[in-house]
């Protein structure tokens, strides 16, 4: 067995306790209505959670993806309505290029495979220009970690909100902000991405983080569904006693387990081979996004009409699942990506490739 690191166990206890205590239905409803979640964010920041991938000598937790994963999964499970996952990714991007991670809610841009921002040298500093759509929490953050090209080279920049204007306040199905930002201003700092990191893989790491969040929300949907099946009685017995319901919930449990396993495998590979983990990163998003659809469907069927109300809390998980399965590339996007790279080598190479992975 690989065995969990002590840090991972400590973080897991810490983040699950914190979010279970602080993110309830009231908070989720208020967040959807647009109320800022400053207290929640403060508690998260006091526990150092956004800094999980930032090295200790830069004031961070110094964890790897295995440690980040427990935080991200918990953020997904408790549906935390703050940019925690985006902040973890920002901390990772900034640390990779040796920039300081600020203590503030921070997100990342661009988040779509077909968008690019340009970074230009300007006197002694850098300027950012271009347009990024669907930026998570764009309107709510004061900082962004930006990926872009500067004179053709991959760069990461830290920018504050002076450098952009919010062109469109948009949202995903779960009412999480997904805003269009137009950039035209100076960077706080910028630095080139080291050769050790493949710039084409940054998007895949973000996809894996979303996959981990999905894995968390899947756990929530399963727990709620099992609870509901035990609580709700029809024909004089809890509906969970009916084989028809049991069979579907067992199917659901399988999907939840597979998504979690795919994400854990991806984090392990990322910790071992960094950007070389492209196969596992793609696999995690394929498997988790696919599970999201099946699990959301069974969760709603189990909950009946009650699950279709806003009053019942199931939708906080399922609306996120329907959003997140599409973000940072759907299962179809990544399957095509993976399939093309496999097709380049043919059937004879497949097995060696599979068993030779990190």
């Amino acid at each position: 067995m690989s065995g969990d690191s002590e840090l991972r166990t400590i973080l897991s206890d810490q983040v699950n306790r914190l979010l279970a205590d602080r993110v309830g239905k009231g908070v989720l409803e208020a967040a959807e209505a647009g109320a800022p979640q400053d207290q929640l964010w403060q508690a998260i920041e006091e526990n150092g959670l956004p800094m999980v991938l930032v090295p200790e000598d830069r004031g961070g937790v110094g964890g790897g993806w295995g440690e980040a994963e427990v935080v991200i999964r918990a953020a997904g499970k408790y549906l935390a309505p703050v940019p925690l996952v985006e902040s973890i990714l920002a901390g990772w991007l900034l640390s990779n290029v040796g920039l300081e991670m600020p203590l503030a809610p921070i997100s990342i841009a661009p988040v779509r495979a077909d968008e690019a921002l340009s970074i230009t040298k300007d006197g002694g500093g850098y300027r950012i220009s271009g347009m990024a759509t669907r930026v998570p929490w764009g309107r709510s953050v004061e900082r962004l970690a930006i990926f872009g090209r500067c004179e053709g080279e991959p760069y990461v920049a830290l920018v504050d909100s002076d450098a952009w204007t919010v062109e469109l306040e948009d949202r995903n199905i779960a009412a999480e902000p997904r805003d269009s930002l137009r950039f035209n201003g100076p960077a706080v700092a910028a630095a080139p991405l080291p050769d050790s990191i493949n710039p084409d893989r940054l998007f895949a790491f973000c996809a894996m983080a979303r996959a981990s969040q999905i894995a968390g929300a899947l756990e929530m949907a399963l727990e709620q569904s099992v609870q509901y099946a035990n609580d709700r009685s029809q024909f004089g017995t809890p509906i969970g006693k009916f084989q028809a319901v049991q069979q579907e919930l067992a199917r659901m449990a399988g999907e939840v387990a597979a998504a979690g396993a795919a994400v854990e495998a991806a984090c392990r590979a990322a910790d071992r081979v960094g950007s070389g983990a492209g196969f596992e990163l793609a696999t995690a998003k394929i498997r988790a996004s696919e599970a999201a659809s099946i699990v959301a469907s069974i969760a709603h069927q189990t909950h009946g009409a009650m699950g279709f109300t806003y009053e019942h809390s199931l939708h906080f998980a399922t609306r996120r699942l329907w959003s997140w399965r599409a973000e940072f590339g759907s299962e179809t996007y990544w399957a095509e990506h993976l399939g093309r790279s496999l097709a380049a080598h043919g059937g004879a190479a497949l097995w060696t490739h599979l068993v030779g992975r990190a």
């Binding site: 067995m1 690989s2 969990d4 727990e223 099992v226 099946a229 035990n230 969970g240 006693k241 084989q243 319901v245 049991q246 069979q247 919930l249 067992a250 199917r251 449990a253 399988g254 999907e255 939840v256 387990a257 597979a258 979690g260 396993a261 795919a262 854990e264 495998a265 392990r268 196969f279 596992e280 793609a282 696999t283 394929i286 498997r287 696919e290 299962e331 179809t332 990544w334 399957a335 095509e336 990506h337 993976l338 399939g339 093309r340 496999l342 097709a343 380049a344 080598h345 043919g346 059937g347 004879a348 497949l350 097995w351 599979l354 068993v355 992975r357």
Partner: protein, 383 residues
């Protein structure tokens, strides 16, 4: 509620070392083995090949050396298994003996029986089948009615067993019989007996052709078939718990997600020749599932090796694995615009023809999907 976490685990270096050996063996012995035969996966029956596996040391890998085994770890055997499945080697003849009959005898058999039977399994000299289901007992296995009645020096068997794959060819059956009808619970009063199929009077075996035209399984009818005392396995009346232990050997291994592997391979070959978006998506999706199932299965193997009881996790592998195996012919069909052609097709067409038909059985054999989901539901706290 069970956690259903599959913690990532690695195959240890000594297990990885087996890979080169088994590949060299397979390269040598299967050089001209056609794709359409490889498609049969662990249903491919070839006693000669099984004997070669035994001679080369790939059977009874985990059995103790004192009984002719090789004293290796479950991980080392795992690598052998996944390599023979990846190659589509014809392993059906020895599969039952190596996977469950041998381990069952080692756990419950007498010393005399171990010495008599295990070395010959390890050499690939004797082959086994399973006698569990009956015409009226499938998923409700404890309802078996075929009787084992006490007689002088042994037992007389009367009744019938069905779906006994290979019974018309193999040497032994390990069967589950009702040895006591005066019990309150139907799970009590069952016994497991080792039956010498080739040298016992009163056994008639009728082949049952499957939908693909193959004759793998049978119905075995017993009429006063005599089984000597020394062929009782374990304790009379304790057959149920022994069978449950036996079935746990077979739910989480690589055969639970690799039965359609050859079709994935042929699909990938076709997509390599001409890469369309639909083809790439199909391949990417299938391989993502395959890689995830393999990780989960290795995680369960690690739990087994650590002495934990991963029965529930094994059921999750079987649930997901059989869904996956059955999705392969469907996705291939929907992607490739190919008519399955069993006799004169190319490798993809023939493989598709075989797997399309065989896939029906994947979620029935070794415990139906419904039974497996019932076990998972119990783990969820619903039963």
């Amino acid at each position: 509620m069970h956690s259903f976490r599959f913690e990532p685990a690695d195959l240890p270096p000594e297990a990885e070392a087996v890979r080169a050996d088994i590949r060299a063996f397979l390269d040598k012995n299967l050089a001209d083995y056609p794709a359409a035969m490889r498609a049969r996966s662990w249903s491919g029956f070839d006693p000669e090949f099984s004997a070669k596996m035994g001679q080369a040391g790939f059977l009874g890998m985990t059995f103790p050396k004192q009984y002719g085994g090789h004293g290796k770890t479950a991980f080392e055997r795992y690598v052998m298994l996944e390599e023979v499945l990846a190659a589509g080697a014809p392993v059906a003849a020895h599969w039952t003996a190596d996977r469950q009959s041998g381990p069952l005898i080692l756990e419950f058999g007498t010393e005399e029986m171990k010495q008599r039977i295990i070395p010959r399994i390890t050499k690939g000299e004797i082959l086994f089948c399973i006698g569990m289901s009956e015409p009226d007992s499938g998923s409700d296995l404890a309802s078996v009615r075929t009787r084992a009645t006490r007689t002088n020096g042994g037992w007389l068997i009367n009744g019938s067993k069905i779906w006994t794959s290979g019974a018309h060819i193999v040497d032994y059956m390990i069967g589950l019989f009702r040895s006591d009808s005066n019990v309150e619970r139907k799970h009590d009063g069952l016994s497991q007996l080792l039956i010498d199929l080739r040298n016992t009077d009163g056994i008639s075996i009728r082949p049952i052709k499957n939908l693909a035209g193959e004759e793998h399984f049978n119905e075995c009818v017993f009429e006063d078939a005599f089984v000597p005392d020394e062929n009782l396995i374990g304790t009379a009346g304790q057959g149920w718990s022994q069978v449950m232990a036996e079935l746990a050997f077979e739910r989480s291994g690589p055969e639970r997600y690799m039965s359609s592997y050859q079709l994935i391979l042929e699909l990938l070959n076709a997509v390599s020749k001409e890469t369309t978006p639909a083809g790439a998506i199909a391949v990417g999706r299938l391989v993502a599932h395959l890689a995830t199932l393999r990780n989960m299965s290795i995680s369960v193997a690690a739990k087994l090796q650590a002495g934990e009881d991963p029965a529930l996790d094994g059921s999750v592998i079987k649930e997901l694995g059989t869904l996956f195996e059955q999705s392969v012919p469907l996705i291939t069909h929907q992607t490739m615009e190919r008519e399955p052609s069993p006799d004169h097709g190319d490798d993809l067409g023939r493989t598709l023809a075989y797997v399309t038909q065989a896939a029906t059985s994947f979620s029935v054999r070794g415990g139906t999907r419904e039974i497996v989901r019932g076990i998972i539901a119990r783990g969820l706290g619903l039963r």
